[in-house]
């Protein structure tokens, strides 16, 4: 672990993202039961489990796409049950999607600019009437600036562009700046999604199978990159991943879900040796291929 990471780890205080006893039910189906989680700055955690274990559901509850039936989610100490996804995003939680959801007809640059724009400064924190009024005022002032093409607006637009270009560069996508997102190769689309998520200036980044569909080499690169992002942007990162080796390799703490229940949690070595995990998730094939890792 780099020195920077050690440092950020040391100053990490209260959890930035916290789930307390979160359950969600769809009709009769319990998709997630008593899910607990706490992500701090500098964390790099993994969330694994077999297909249909509730990993993506967990992401959707954390980001406000679904509402928990029970329990509560806190982002930056703020209880966010009942909040809309964009409001939760403004508190500093950003995500990528398992099935890439870019703005396909927009250029790579514009994809990131959408995210850069929609962040905090425009939307004062808080949910009271005062904050709402202030938000509305800022918003309308902003519309007028855009319509009148004021110097301030032009300046902001340039800053946005630079921010977005910077993020594209970080993700190694500068050469795709003006290309439509749908024309990017698969791996680059995944990276663009991360760039876009970073554009919202998150404190916690949720990555939903960021390495899916990549080859081994690309995966290795990506993992290095994720670590670097965590350090450079002072993030807490939570990764859903299918590739066991990969998760084991980079995550310091892993949560294992099966049928919506948390069956294990801990350091990779600990999880790897957990009987329940091996039975429920890794199964025989893993034991075979790794010569009985337990």
């Amino acid at each position: 672990m780099s020195a920077a990471a050690e440092e950020t780890k040391a100053e990490a205080g209260a959890p930035l993202l916290q789930a307390d006893g979160v359950s969600i039910q769809f009709g009769g189906l319990k998709a997630l039961t008593d899910f607990n989680l706490s992500v701090r700055q500098g964390d790099l955690q993994g969330l694994i489990g077999p297909n249909g274990a509730g990993k993506s559901t967990a992401f959707n509850v954390l980001t406000g796409v679904y509402q928990p039936t029970q329990g509560e989610v806190r982002v930056g100490g703020q209880r966010v049950n009942g909040w809309l996804p964009h409001q939760i995003n403004h508190l500093g939680l950003a995500r990528t999607f398992q099935n890439i959801r870019l703005f396909r007809a927009l250029t790579a640059l514009d994809n990131v600019k959408v995210a850069c724009r929609a962040q905090g400064a425009l939307h004062p924190e808080g949910v009271g009437l005062g904050a709402k009024m202030k938000g509305a005022f800022i918003n309308y002032r902003d519309w007028w600036r855009a319509l009148l093409l004021t110097p301030r607006f032009q300046q902001e637009e340039r800053e946005l562009t630079q921010q977005a270009e910077h993020l594209l560069e970080v993700m190694g996508l500068s050469h795709r700046r003006d290309e439509e997102a749908r024309n990017l190769p698969y791996g680059e689309q995944r990276r663009l999604e991360i760039a876009r998520a970073l554009g919202t200036q998150p404190k916690v980044l949720l990555l939903d199978e960021p390495a899916a569909g990549m080859n081994t080499r690309e995966k290795a690169d990506l993992m290095v990159l994720i670590r670097k992002l965590r350090d450079d942007f002072k993030l807490g990162v939570l990764v859903i991943e299918h590739d066991m080796k990969l998760v084991m390799g980079i995550c310091e703490c892993i949560t294992v879900l099966d049928h919506g229940e948390t069956i294990a949690r801990g350091a990779p070595a600990q999880v790897r040796s957990d009987r329940k995990v091996i039975e429920a998730y890794l199964g025989d094939s893993y034991l075979e291929s790794h010569g009985g890792a337990a």
Binding site: F26, S56, N60, V65, Y66, F97
Partner: protein, 306 residues
């Protein structure tokens, strides 16, 4: 009290007709997730087919039981064919395209039909409403008090036909092989195709079925109104669509309930408030229902898979 009863009867009679047309919207929406905007206009075409048949049969023939049957049969079969053609040539090529594309197409067809029928081309009847022949001669079926409440025979007959059609449909959807295939396609037409269900055929049959139902309903409506016009499809269709949405689109019994509710609401507004507000009622009610219960009375809003 008697007045209330009369409105109740009229409302139910109108409601069953809305319900029948609404069933067509709901079935098509069920299998294709498409609001078949042209449904009402297909209905209108069916009514004109019935109109032409009734005239061809002549005055004596058309009010006999056989004559009525022929009128209905021609209209329903003709519409089934029309529905088939529309599906085959307009909707099928767009099935994998964005939903908006099909919706726009449907609106286009609706337009082409409802305004095409207004053209003065000789073989078409033109824009003016025509009197629909009395295929069912009006008889007072039941009179209560000093004509406080009157139930006409056509109300009973249309109620009967509508109920029979609905029961038949319910049987078809839930008790037959075709119904099962239809429900499978409605669940996920790609998966259904992989399971060996002839998706194209099921969808085509659904269109034919819904169009035939619409023709039947349209004739009942024309008999009730004693008139037929090229724009009737647009208005009856829209209201029936409202009924389908109120019940929860895609939900078969919901469409029936929605139709009845709409029929009653309209009747009461016309009866107790002002008839000129009639056309606004359906939409006002729709917006109200959608705001309170976005999925309609019985439907549920499916959470989008993320």
């Amino acid at each position: 009290m008697a007045q209330l009863l009369q409105h109740l009867i009229n409302g139910l009679a109108a409601g069953t007709i809305y319900a029948l047309v609404a069933l067509g919207y709901t079935m098509v929406y069920g299998v294709l997730k498409l609001i078949n905007f042209a449904h009402g206009d297909v209905m209108m075409v069916g009514v004109y087919m019935g109109y032409a048949t009734a005239f061809a049969l002549g005055r004596d023939m058309r009010s006999s039981l056989l004559g009525v049957a022929v009128v209905f049969a021609v209209a329903m079969l003709g519409c089934a064919l029309l529905g088939f053609l529309i599906e085959r040539f307009a909707y099928r090529p767009l099935r994998e395209k964005p939903r908006l594309t099909a919706l726009i197409t449907a609106i286009g067809i609706s337009f082409a039909l409802s305004y095409g029928f207004q053209l003065d081309l000789g073989f078409l009847p033109g824009a003016a409403p025509r009197a629909f022949p009395e295929v069912i001669e009006p008889v007072e079926w039941l009179v209560i008090g000093d004509r406080d409440v009157v139930v006409w025979n056509w109300q009973v007959i249309s109620f009967g036909i509508a109920v029979a059609l609905m029961v038949g449909l319910q049987y078809l959807v839930f008790r037959t092989r075709f119904g099962r295939a239809m429900r499978a396609v409605s669940w996920d037409h790609r998966v259904a195709a992989l399971m060996g269900i002839p998706t194209d055929r099921v969808i085509a049959l659904t269109f034919m079925l819904s169009s035939a139902l619409a023709a039947g309903a349209g004739l009942l409506y024309a008999i009730k109104d004693t008139s037929v016009s090229p724009l009737m499809g647009l208005y009856v269709g829209l209201k029936a669509f409202v009924a389908a949405v109120i019940g929860g689109i895609g939900h078969v019994p919901g469409a029936v309930v929605g139709g009845l509710v709409l029929g009653l609401v309209e009747e009461f507004v016309v009866g107790y408030a002002a008839s000129t507000w009639r056309d606004a009622v359906a939409f006002g009610f729709l917006i109200l229902v959608l705001l309170v219960k976005p999925g309609g009375l019985f439907g549920r809003v499916a959470a989008e898979k993320v």
